[in-house]
Symmetry: C2
Subunit: 237 residues, 2 copies
DNA sequence: GCTAAATTATGACAAAAGTCATATTTGAAA
DNA sequence: TTTCAAATATGACTTTTGTCATAATTTAGC
């Protein structure tokens, strides 16, 4: 899994740390993490961990993009969450002492650090503010998950599609041209995010293109009319 | 909100404490909780807290049944979670320092205790094992929420309906006759749990009755054929 | 550049689920 | 009990969404 030739970063000067749950860690604690962590890079499509395996620690994303997905009926994938720079992945199962309930796969060239389980639990023991960071992270994830439940249960596919596109813009931002989504997902992946069939996804994207809300650059999606998408997504605030 | 005539229970001898996140609390900490808590009972249909309000603490359920629900499009309710004896409600928003993202309503005569925010945060500061209890609770809620996402996105309504009925049996159990669901929900409430229209819920319940999977005692639902429901729900393990 | 495989696109159709109208039943209050 | 509003039930119909077949396009590998 870990390759010898990987560059080992330094936590103290890690840029993504300030955006993460480790932002308030004391220098001496940081030292412990630094000595025990392990850095690694993933190519697009490479899996970080798989549903059913046992976690031995958690992963901090330095750069890149990760999707968290679960296997559903008849091998159909469902994307439940995304992660980017500063996010922590694979921590839910580790904290609960369970097997992974979902898998994580890189959507891009991604750099991550692995921090062993015992280091994290020692930190929780010692540093209450770190516990609170974890609690806030879980709370935030839970809030978003419950929002997804609401939308999947009540919004029609067209609304969810518009919403998902805007979410991807929000989450991963746009390329330097100011319109192209930074994250590159296949139509099938978008379908598993929105919770619909691939053909329906293709049709809706074409429809949005016809309505001049989007345009395509090859497979890449460009957001042309954000207010228009907001309207379709039925988001007012 | 709080009524003077409510009986104030004693945390030390509280039966539901052993099932809760407070099971490992030290006696002196328990004393602090006991002195600051506030007990209250709710009648069926009474709201414990409402979406958008600010939390001042959390609620422990002593007995009874609570639904956690959100308002969706056009005033349509969505049930996202349930709570019973030993469960804690209203903690997510409090821990995250946010407004409530959902409301809580009693489904029965329910007895709860309120514990103020500052007491909880002091406990997190002092007792790492309590933090871990909260972390595990959030993790468990998150796991279930992500499972709901998967099912809402991929399972057809009929499967979700069978699954929800089995979930209600699991969650709140059966009456002494061994078949009647202890929790009494209207068809409309079941619809908001399953994520479908009320008419569809009524039709599916009738279908299940015809197939001798269920029977009705007035409005109450009786589970006749659990294996049959498991089959429809497409649950194998 | 060329080919094969994967992805995207589109049409025709089927199935699932929602909506609206209208009975019928139930249960709580007078 | 009686009455009435709310909840449940059912039919007819529409809309949404999914499925299958097949075509066109893109991409990756040689």
């Amino acid at each position: 899994m870990a390759k010898k030739e990987e560059i080992q970063h330094d936590c103290e000067h890690c840029k993504s740390r300030y955006k993460s749950i480790f932002c308030q860690i004391a220098p001496e604690e940081l030292q412990v993490i630094n000595e025990n962590k392990w850095c690694q890079t993933l190519e697009k499509g490479q899996q970080l961990f798989a549903e059913g395996a046992y976690p031995h620690g958690l992963f901090c994303v330095n750069s890149g993009k990760i999707k968290i997905h679960q296997m559903g009926e008849e091998g159909r994938e469902q994307i439940v969450r995304f992660a980017k720079e500063g996010d922590v992945v694979g921590y839910r199962a580790m904290l609960a002492g369970e097997k992974y309930s979902s898998s994580a796969t890189a959507l891009d060239h991604t750099s991550i650090c692995f921090i062993p389980k015992n280091v994290i639990f020692a930190l929780i023991e010692k540093d209450a503010s770190f516990s609170i960071q974890i609690i806030k992270l879980l709370s935030s994830n839970l809030k978003h998950a419950e929002e997804s439940i609401l939308h999947l249960a009540q919004k029609p596919v067209r609304e969810r599609m518009a919403e998902s596109l805007l979410f991807l813009k929000e989450m991963y931002g746009l390329e330097s041209d100011g319109i192209t989504l930074s994250v590159s997902l296949s139509r099938e992946e978008i379908a598993t995010l929105v919770g619909t069939a691939t053909e329906t996804t293709i049709r809706l994207l074409s429809e949005f293109k016809t309505k001049k809300l989007l345009s395509f650059d090859g497979r890449k999606i460009q957001i042309i009319d954000t207010p228009g998408l907001l309207k379709i997504a039925n988001i007012h605030d």
